[in-house]
Point group: C2
Chain length 195, copies 2
DNA sequence: CGCGGGTTTGATGATGCTCAAGCCCGGTGG
DNA sequence: CCACCGGGCTTGAGCATCATCAAACCCGCG
């Protein structure tokens, strides 16, 4: 089986998963293609679906009252995408999610997602693992943001997230790190001169 | 039943929980008292237990190579405490967790924690809810840290976390917010003058 | 050739840090 | 009862870092 989702479940769960079970799992998903720069979720909408990214790149961002954009998450192939708060609470999203490249996803509703967790132990285990990793990664991001300066944050980003680094332009990465594109450009020059 | 844990499970799960089941759940926990300023977890140790705080206040912090402390999490009554990364991965913790007040906890090992999730649906649901809230809260913290200046972060902290505000001194809150105690002191004066 | 998106650069200013000193206050021991 | 101590908070001077804004540049593409 060469479905990316199948591989993903195998990787993040130790419970066996039979072919026919996976086939059933797949029936709960809806394929969806999104052209570059189209919304997966817009501020004010309730996030009804979780998406699994087969192909593409996406970003999640927040717009403040001065119309500044802050990119809070980036997503590429084999990532789950949703706004957690809106999805869990069924409240209007404070964030936007859109595609940075043409993308292919498979979508599933919250109800079906929960159903799959109850019915298939391997699916459930995969979700637990994924959530745990999410918690660890986000916590790490907080720690880095309060303990590192701009340059060290950027260096750490390059080291740990090459898969993002190759896919998004500098000003997107700057926003993700909470620094201005100008500062990022300058510190890149400084770093280049050092080596 | 007036056990704080019982109330907690009821609050964070919609599945019924029978008295005798809860009694069984409790047998998996180990009571533990910790005097003020003693460690729950020290850097380098593997986090073997999750603790549920019955009484007390704790902090989790990171020490960098210049010996600066960065407080990354605060905990009070009715919170679960652990270092997630060390607990999940069974790797040496990069963080310290200690008590800020005399505290009473009940502890449970990872194996037993997983056992309870499998055996008691209400326990499992409570854990899911708790993890989801954790993800939402931490994500929010990231968003705030990249989009707000020091003053607005502090104001937001006061508004959203009075239960921490009352329990920890200023310099601890400053560290939690990623700003220096001096800056916090100054912006408090500025804010006072405004009103 | 011109356009658009992305990056660089300079000038300037705001924000927050560092370090050292002093203050306040509650607790303790003589 | 007073002196002292320690923890926490405040304050000032000087400095480092980073943001802002505007302009220029670069390059791929229609």
């Amino acid at each position: 089986m060469d479905s990316p989702l199948y591989k993903y479940i195998k990787e993040y769960s130790s419970t066996p998963l039979y072919q026919e079970d996976f086939d059933e799992i797949l029936t709960y998903f809806i394929p969806k293609k999104l052209k570059k720069r189209s919304y997966f979720l817009q501020e004010g909408e309730v996030c009804e679906y979780v998406g699994f990214i087969i192909k593409g790149a996406m970003r999640e961002y927040y717009v403040d009252n001065k119309n500044r954009e802050y990119i809070v998450n980036l997503y590429v192939e084999n990532w789950w995408v949703r706004n957690r708060e809106s999805w869990v609470m069924s409240t209007p999203s404070k964030y936007n999610i859109d595609t940075w490249e043409d993308s292919e996803l498979i979508l599933i509703t919250k109800e079906n997602f929960i159903k799959l967790k109850e019915k298939f132990p391997s699916f459930n285990e995969m979700v637990t693992t994924m959530d745990e990793r999410n918690i660890i990664a986000t916590q790490n991001r907080v720690t880095l943001s309060i303990s590192l300066n701009a340059e060290d944050q950027y260096q750490n980003f390059i080291d740990k997230h090459e898969y993002f680094f190759k896919r998004f332009p500098q000003h997107v990465i700057a926003s993700y790190l909470g620094i201005s594109k100008d500062t990022l450009s300058r510190l890149r020059r400084r770093m280049k001169n050092k080596n």
